[in-house]
Amino acid sequence: MNIYSKKLILYLGSAILAISFLFLFLVLPKFEVKIKDELVNNISYAYKGFIKNINKDFIQQHKISSLNDLKKIKNRLALAHHLSLMKNDNIEYIFAVYKEDNIYKILIDVSDTDKSNFDEIFFPTEKEEKALDRIYKTKREAIIFHEAGETKKIGITLLEPLIINNKVQAVVFVDFTVQTLLTINKLINMLKLFLIFVISFISALIIFTIYTTLKVFYFKKKAYMDELTGVYNRNYLEEVLPEINLQKYVVALFDIDYFKKINDTYGHKAGDEILKKFAKILKNSFREDEDVIVRYGGEEFLVLIKKDRRNSLSVLNAVKRAVDRIRKAMFPYGKEVLRLTTSVGVLLDTEKEKSLSEAIKKADVALYKAKLAGRNRIEIYEEENVYLSITKINNLIEKGNILCHYQPVVDLNNSRKVLYFEALVRLKDDDGTIIYPNSFLELIKNTYLYAKLSKKVLEYNVDILRKYKNIKVSVNLSPSDLINETLIKDAISLEEHIVKRLKFEILETEEIKNYDKVLDNLKRLKEKGFQISIDDFGSGYSNFKYLLNLDIDFIKIDANLIKNINESKKSQELVKAIVLFAKNNSISTIAEFIENEKILETVKKLGVEYGQGYYFSKPKTIEEILEEKKWDI
């Protein structure tokens, strides 16, 4: 636990102890008096009853009607007899006094020691004097606790009035020994000790509970914090954030531009320093108590911004402010000073979202757009493609509502002769509607669903190849599929007759992070006997690496070069160069997007061997294609 938590516990503990002792200090004396009174009442109960009987029976029996009657020797002797009956070891003195000329005098004394004579002057203690005044007024008994030193041998005195004709004529003193008081005090001290123990125990228990709670809270908090950046981590995202009311937040996903390059150039330590400072800027740009910042991935930060700002523009201003701060900030590392930019994807309209993961996915789509558009920008998610929900895609994949449409790749010199059919994935909605990949592929990219879909597509096509023994099929693989060991193993374990008729088209749709692994697995596939085709060749630079490192069978020239080939001399030159390069390296070329005869003629003239496009056939189910019976398979 950190120093602040320890201090907090110390303060809380001290406060609880202070409250406990204040409670003891205020309550204990009252408790003590109450218990003492109760104990003395119990002890003196019998004596009170005895003297009440004297008042009731003795006075009537001896027809005593005044103090003078009471003073008569025979009555005093009779009274002495009655009082003597009360004597026991707890009693030190028993005597009665009467008041004459404001001086108290002995009426009768039945004590065994220090006996006084009738009419002897008696000075009560100050406390007793006050009690006697009260008794003469109220006719009610009193109990006096004597202070140590102010009296000798006596601890408690019970004062009971003798009432004749409704008037107090004398007062009986029953002096209990000091020992009785000591016994009572001992009992009270034991109770006090017990009470102090109980309260101390309860206080300790409360302090321990607070300590444990804080400790649990601290460790729980630690489990939810990213140690490097001090913002929340994915544990928090997975365990706590699903509970939040998503509608109250705007979801923004920040990604540090070209972070991988920084890591590669300056090392991980520099990367860590940048992440720390980046997180600090984010923390300073948003409200600590209301907005939530999570380190979502390596260099990705998720920010949930509370919507209570006046409008969405002010939320965007907050995001923009953060982006500007990052842009202006200097990130010193060693002697270098680095500058950064960030791309942000924002989902403003969270009301429609069923879950946080779907909202994040949409923010991710917007982030992807921001990256595609050149980075260092904020993109807001818009429902332009009527995307499906992740949950729905998952359900359809789980249910196996997957099918492929096939488009033939034909020999340009004999357009009925099919090289192979390219499998194009579709999802089938529960009502039978076909869902095209532009509605779902972008959403599930880089998720486990994509891997799941790729596996299902491979299985689907293997089934097709088993069913239709004379056709050849190509399946598209993304770089993420090529690092998916399960998928690669599934492919490698296929029988030879399938391997011979199954080709893989490698897409260049993602930034490849693990080239070595991709190349390694492609080599394994090649070794197994699969033919490999590079899709969209010319759209990016990464697939040149495949050319350099692998024996590629086909190059599929990118549609962007083909569709305007008749209008663009440069496109023609480029296609010509690709064809020349391919021929020199024994690689066959395929032109995509052949939509009309004019394009067909041009690509043929440029030496392209194979072609694919609407001019030959739209993608159809394999059954529809075979029913046409026009293809030389």
Binding site: F123, T125, A148, G149, I154, F173
Partner: protein
């Protein structure tokens, strides 16, 4: 340094003596010194008659009386356990009931009865010595004939 040691020793002695003397004895001395100073006046010379040396020391330490050794020079004598102190021909104050009864010069007395401190001041004897006690003590002033012999 020497002074400090003496002060510490005195304090230690005072504390140990206080602890040794029982509480009722201290209470008694407090009452007696109050009565004596309130009847004959402050800073009068007081002689303790028939007291042991240790008792005198206690009075010196715990009372506000100006204790003198020679009773002839004293303004009042506090008499203990003595049947007749009339020879002094000056006011006296008795400790103990019988001392009080037998000492005709005693203006009053202090004794314990039934565990309680008792104070008696005799009106006639106070008059003889022209002593007027403080108002707080008036309730203890009784006529000679009230005394039960």
């Amino acid at each position: 340094m020497k002074k400090t040691i003496i002060i510490i020793l005195n304090v230690a002695l005072f504390i140990s003596i206080s602890m040794a003397i029982d509480k009722s004895k201290l209470y008694e001395i407090k009452i007696i010194s109050y009565i004596v100073s309130s009847t004959i006046g402050q800073n009068k010379k007081v002689c303790l008659y028939n007291f042991s040396n240790s008792e005198v020391d206690i009075y010196r330490k715990f009372s506000n009386l100006k204790i003198v050794d020679n009773c002839k020079n004293a303004d009042i004598i506090i008499v203990k356990d003595l049947e007749n102190a009339k020879t002094f021909n000056k006011p006296a104050f008795a400790i103990g009931y019988f001392t009080f009864l037998n000492c005709i010069n005693c203006i009053g007395g202090f004794y314990w009865k039934k565990g309680r401190p008792q104070i008696i001041l005799i009106k006639e004897r106070l008059n003889t010595f022209h002593i007027k006690p403080a108002s707080k003590l008036e309730k203890f002033v009784i006529p000679e004939n009230f005394v039960n012999r």
